[in-house]
């Protein structure tokens, strides 16, 4: 199953000009970075979008829109490394699928988004393949990838070191999968990031990465994680030229997520946030007018062709409406007169 990667943004938010495409990986429902960037007007890729017209509540329930793919909760580096390895290398986690007592099969890496499971292993495997194909398209085509980290640790399968998100309550795991909480130290995090970075660069050599760390607030455990991740992210930015990390950006994201509707202040923040996400220099953003996109924009569609297509669509719609109006009235008049 193949699907062209879709750049999304709500109609109201959608920028008038074509902006560089941003890929987002990391799906913490408490820190929906992709949603914040879309709200600010960024051109965030979505390779597994919900159908048009899906309500926010339904999209949230089924895990749509959290990132550029529908990967479920993906809040730690271990989870991201696993997923990217699976998509771009030959690595296969040992306990990927979990068969439930009722025979339904659950994808252990994203159990929370389809907790009902699928009828058999073939179906679950087919869904997984489609998901990985979508992820591959994003990772190999996007010029910029934003990685969103919330926590340091994850549940880890000692059988092969695979990291898993917390299984939903009531989920039955394979008997041999003894998932245990694991909190990696900074050296482990550095090694995970180096692996991840290497795989991504091999697949998409021009890719630029921005590491985002969720501002923790007052929770002490989250604060400890934030401090560890910030220190690591700063180190990665210093070590790899293609990597950036900036607490200001992270706080602007947080602010965007918590602001209400677009006031004048919000629009200024949105402009800076999107500019930074696209790789613009902060000094330029604060000094100049509209955010300048450093990356070459995708080619503009031919305007005349678009206008022509629009005219044809309108003509078709009008014809169809006219025909159906006549038919509907005739039906009633014939039957009842």
């Amino acid at each position: 199953m193949a699907k062209a990667v879709k750049s999304s943004g709500t109609a109201a938010d959608r920028p008038a000009t074509i902006r560089p495409e941003l890929a987002v990986l990391g799906g913490d429902p408490a820190f929906p970075v992709a949603a914040a960037l879309r709200r600010a007007g960024a051109n965030v890729l979505d390779a597994e979008p919900p159908p048009e017209g899906t309500s926010d509540a339904l999209a949230q329930r089924y895990g749509f829109g959290l990132a550029s793919v529908r990967a479920g909760r993906l809040d730690s580096l271990g989870l991201m490394r696993n997923l990217v390895e699976e998509a771009l290398t030959d690595r296969q986690p040992r306990h990927l699928f979990w068969t439930q007592p009722d025979g339904q099969v659950i994808d252990g890496f994203r159990a929370a988004i389809d907790p009902q499971g699928l009828p058999d292993l073939a179906a679950a495997s087919s869904y997984r393949k489609a998901h990985l194909a979508a992820l591959r398209r994003v990772l190999t085509s996007a010029p910029i990838l934003i990685l969103c980290l919330t926590r340091t640790g994850a549940m880890v399968d000692p059988a092969d070191g695979s990291a898993f998100p917390e299984p939903p309550p009531g989920t039955v795991l394979p008997p041999s999968a003894n998932l245990a909480a694991h909190a990696p130290d900074p050296a482990e995090l550095d090694a995970d990031f180096a692996t991840l970075h290497g795989i991504l660069q091999a697949a998409n050599p021009g890719l630029r990465l921005r590491v985002v760390v969720k501002p923790a607030g007052s929770d002490p455990v989250a604060s400890r994680d934030e401090a560890t991740l910030r220190a690591c992210a700063s180190g990665w930015a210093g070590r790899f030229p293609s990597v950036s990390a900036d607490p200001l950006f992270d706080h602007l994201l947080d602010r965007t997520l918590h602001s209400t509707s677009g006031s004048g202040d919000d629009s200024a923040i949105f402009r800076v946030l999107v500019g930074l996400a696209e790789g613009a220099d902060l000094a330029v953003l604060l000094g100049a007018g509209p955010a300048s996109a450093p990356s070459p924009s995708p080619p503009q569609l031919d305007k005349a062709a678009r206008r022509e297509r629009r005219k044809l669509r309108q003509a078709r719609r009008q014809k169809s409406k006219k025909d159906s109006s006549v038919v509907c009235e005739d039906e009633l008049l014939e039957a009842f007169s």
């Binding site: 199953m1 159908p51 339904l58 329930r61 039906e331 009633l332 014939e334 009842f336």
Partner: protein, 258 residues
């Protein structure tokens, strides 16, 4: 005493009216006394609930009400023992639109589509159907009276729509060619049932009128409109004829006598 049945709908009530007359002529109609109300297209959107009555807010809709009901300019809800809501934007075209971009387990035509869990597909469709005029009216009726509410969807389009260039292509051909018609038709019914469930009962399109899960057999569309040529061509694949209406009354009979 015959059941006083209030039939409300858009242009699709025409087939029910014609079918009722046909059944009556044969003496096989259910023991009900139907009164029809309706307006073409989305005209029923201009009808509002006030003091226990559904009242048109536009003069042209008032005229349709009078013409169709035999002189009544409003629907006094307490005058009826049961309600039958017909069409009113509940259509399998909507699931075909979803099928163009998304697929789920059990379907064959998955290439180029985003895969979703079938539960999501059903929930999404139920949510969309819950926003139709059908469900809006059902909720208004239920908030006012406790009489049973039955619902029937707009018929699937006639089978020739699958290949015709004369009508809009909603994707019947692709779905049938992939062997997905039956699965799509099944999910359509389940989604509509879920949308209708809080207010009443959904009665499915009679199975013997259905072809490939999402189309209506051509014989039930023949001569349904003035625009149909009667020779296998035409421009109206959406409306059905008296024979179809008769079949729907048969399908409704058990629910009407319950």
């Amino acid at each position: 005493m015959s059941l006083r049945l209030c039939v409300i709908g858009n242009s699709h009530i025409a087939a029910l009216k014609l079918g009722w007359e046909a059944a009556k002529a044969k003496g096989v109609q259910p023991d009900v006394r139907p009164t029809f109300f309706g307006a073409p297209r989305d005209g029923m959107r201009h009808v509002a609930l006030s003091n226990g009555c559904l009242i048109p807010g536009r003069k042209d809709i008032v005229e349709f009400f009078k013409l169709i009901s035999g002189g009544q300019d409003r629907i006094r809800l307490s005058d009826y023992d049961a309600f039958l809501l017909t069409g009113l934007n509940i259509s399998s075209k909507r699931i075909l639109r979803l099928y163009k971009t998304h697929a789920w387990v059990g379907l064959n035509g998955t290439a180029g589509k985003v895969v979703v869990h079938p539960a999501f597909a059903q929930d999404f469709l139920a949510e969309r159907y819950a926003e139709t005029r059908m469900i809006d009216l059902a909720s208004q009726i239920r908030a006012t009276v406790q009489a049973p509410i039955l619902t029937v969807a707009e018929p699937h389009w006639a089978e020739w729509a699958r290949t015709s260039r004369e009508v809009a292509n909603f994707g019947w051909g692709a779905a049938v060619a992939a062997g997905d018609g039956a699965a799509i038709g099944h999910l359509f019914h389940r989604a509509v049932e879920a949308a209708v469930a809080p207010y009443g009962t959904y009665v499915r399109q009679p199975e013997d009128t259905v072809l490939d899960g999402i189309l209506t057999r051509a014989e039930y569309n023949k001569d349904a409109s003035k625009l149909i040529t009667g020779e296998g061509g035409g421009t109206d694949a959406s409306h059905m004829n008296a024979a179809y209406g008769e079949r729907v009354w048969s399908a409704l009979a058990p629910a009407l006598s319950a």
